[in-house]
Amino acid sequence: MGSFLLRRSGVMLLTALCLTFIVFFLTNLEPNLEKLTKSEGNMRMSDAQVQSWLEKNGYRQSLIKRYGEWLGVAPGWTRTDEDGKTTGRCIKRGVDPENPPKYCGMLQGNWGFSLVFKENIKGIIAEKLALTGKLMLCVLLVMVPAALIIGVVAGMREGTKTDRSLSAFSILTTSTPEYVSGVIFIIVFASKFGGLRWFKGTAATAMDNITFENFTLPVITLALYGVGYIARMTRASMAEVMTEQYIRTARLKGLSFSGVVLKHALRNALIAPFTVIMLQIPWLLTGVVIVETLFNYKGFGWTLVAAVGNNDIELLLACSVVAVFVVLITQLISDIGYAFLNPRIRVS
């Protein structure tokens, strides 16, 4: 188990390094830098001016070096111009220019400054993640129990009418991406067209004060797409367990059907869905971006869209790092959890 953990974490770190490098490369492409220069300086800069600005601000070093600086493993650049004024990556306002810190990257907690929000990125990310965290928590609280119940009920008596209709429902939800269900929900439940007006079609007010009225639609929209997938996995796993010998033995012993399901089948049937649920969390990220845009809930996904739309390179990088780590950590947890839950792997 120890060496497994170690190897797994090693691969994860390597993956994280590769992924952040790719993101770094893609966000720092030449046209993006030129756009950045023009928005930092002024729109009518000549090409030569753009180049000299990039040169002055350390964008003309090799990509590897800049990645190292951004990460915080290579010393930040410094430069003394003709007037003897020293500028550098680590020399910001409030820092002694004579004696700047040597490293200032992500690892040192220096996440940079957002151009869109005019704030420190660390603060923005923390605030937005908290908002998205609330959304995710509600989604998981709705999605997981619903999916497990549907899957177990459908899988415990394979081939019955209940099974067929629940399976059809699962297929329907997996065919309905968030931007489709969200639009339909808003039309039915939040516009005069549907006539119901039970909920609000925007979750902008939910950022300060979550109510049943303004938070239901985003949560349901997000949960629905995942429900079908998890339910189908649970159903398959449950149906497989129900054909095992020990279930038949328990049944022949005289245990009631519900007793067999609750005591013998469930524990074994829920191992596979656990992995699926953990792996579903990164999938939710795409959904979060869509739902937050659709319902105007200014969380992490909304920030990502804003960063992309405004060429805010540092904010986009920070968002990407967070997203990549969420994905990798859930993968790690799902691997470890699977090994831990499955006695066959745990013992060996």
């Binding site: 993956t15 993101v23 046209p31 991406p177 931007y179 990220l285 845009t293 968002c319």
Partner: protein, 384 residues
């Protein structure tokens, strides 16, 4: 002229779809009559889920084929006075013409845009899926069959792409800026090579001992493949037949890139499983080359799960294309593709819901059809 009633709108829409109904009827009748001779496809008629999926998919395929006669208006023409008009509104200045499902924010016909949009979706999604399968199969077979360092490296790369949040990858890859740098060109240059490699290996391993057949098949592959390759990847087709808009190429390549690692993993897993079978051992004893075994022994026996995944993946690709459209990264700004239309419609959802609703339902039914079809195929292929 008066506005049409709900009943009149329904009848008129159903009437517009006449070619589709006829086509659907003929195809289903013929397939049903020949169902015992059609293998897996024929067996599909044994499951209600499979048939309903097939009907939905066929409906949209036929709609895409007959789109020109189904659409009542031009999907791009804006007619003054028709902005955001309700369904069934008569077109001003045109006798006997209605906007059957109303007008959108730019005074275009919602119904015709939905119908025309099916062409875009049904052209890109299956093509991108086929390319992703070519890449996944060409790399997954040797990775699973040989194992070792090659497998470790490829699996690491596949996991790398899979660990990327899809939406982030799209935001980074599908931008106007990235086209200036040539990254999509490099990617298409690499990804579009795989189908050619696949077919060369396929024919070479089979006809190695028969020079005439080998020469003919390889020549056809190289000429056709090279022709399409030059046109699609680099837009250098001397005859101008194969051409892809730079923006479309960008989207296409990104979608293939996102899908192929998953296909790779599936093919690799299937290969590892199948290579322990007796018929593979028999082929090895006969002295067949590894590529012959992979392409002519392993691959045909992995077709069941691959066909099922193919259906699911077209649906998933449709969803991905819609997602791109939803964020305004669609094919072209004016194009009637469903994701873009949903994106335009959602902005005025509370006031005018009718422009957004038809494309959402269209997209949902198409994906639903594909998923049901996959489910039916899985059920039937597991039966024997």
């Amino acid at each position: 002229m008066d506005r049409l009633t709900a009943l009149e709108i329904t009848t008129r829409i159903l009437a517009q779809f006449t070619p589709v109904w006829i086509g659907l009827f003929v195809i289903l009748l013929v397939s049903w009559a020949l169902r015992r001779k059609l293998g897996l496809y024929g067996k599909l008629f044994g499951s209600a889920i499979g048939v309903s999926g097939l009907i939905l998919v066929l409906f949209w395929i036929l709609t895409a084929i007959f789109a020109d006669s189904i659409a009542t208006m031009d999907p791009l023409t804006q007619i003054s006075g028709m902005k955001n008009k309700k369904p069934g509104w008569p077109v001003s200045g045109m006798e006997g013409q209605w906007y059957l499902l109303g007008g959108d924010n730019l005074a275009r016909d919602v119904f015709s845009r939905m119908v025309k949009g099916s062409q875009i979706v049904l052209a890109i999604a299956p093509a991108a899926t086929i390319f992703a399968f070519m890449v996944g199969i060409t790399l997954g077979l040797p990775a699973g069959y040989f194992g070792g360092k090659f497998d470790t490296l490829l699996s690491f790369l596949a996991n790398l792409v899979l660990a990327f949040p899809v939406i982030l990858l799209f935001f980074l890859l599908v931008t106007p800026e990235i086209r200036e740098t040539g990254v999509p060109l490099v990617m298409s240059g690499v990804l579009f090579l795989f189908p050619i490699i696949f077919f060369i290996m396929l024919f070479y391993s089979r006809f190695k001992e028969q020079p005439t057949k080998l020469f003919i098949t390889l020549a056809v592959t190289l000429v056709l493949g090279g022709w399409a390759y030059s046109g699609l990847a680099f837009n250098k087709d001397p005859f101008g037949v194969f051409y892809m808009d730079p923006n479309l190429l960008n989207i296409f390549v990104s979608v293939v890139f996102v899908n192929s690692p998953t296909v790779f993993r599936i093919v690799r897993g299937l290969t590892i499983d199948i290579k322990t079978r007796d018929y593979v051992a028999a082929a090895q004893t006969r002295g067949e080359t590894p590529w012959y075994i992979m392409l002519w022994e392993v691959l045909p026996n992995a077709r069941g799960p691959l066909i099922v995944d193919f259906c699911l993946r077209i649906g998933y690709t449709t969803i991905l294309l819609g997602t791109l459209g939803f964020f305004g990264l669609g094919v072209t700004p004016e194009s009637p593709d469903w994701g873009m239309t949903i994106n335009e419609g959602r902005k005025l959802l509370a006031v005018y819901p009718h422009p957004a609703l038809p494309p959402t339902i269209a997209l949902m039914t198409l994906v639903l059809g594909l998923n049901l079809l996959a489910d039916g195929l899985r059920e039937e292929s597991l039966r024997d």
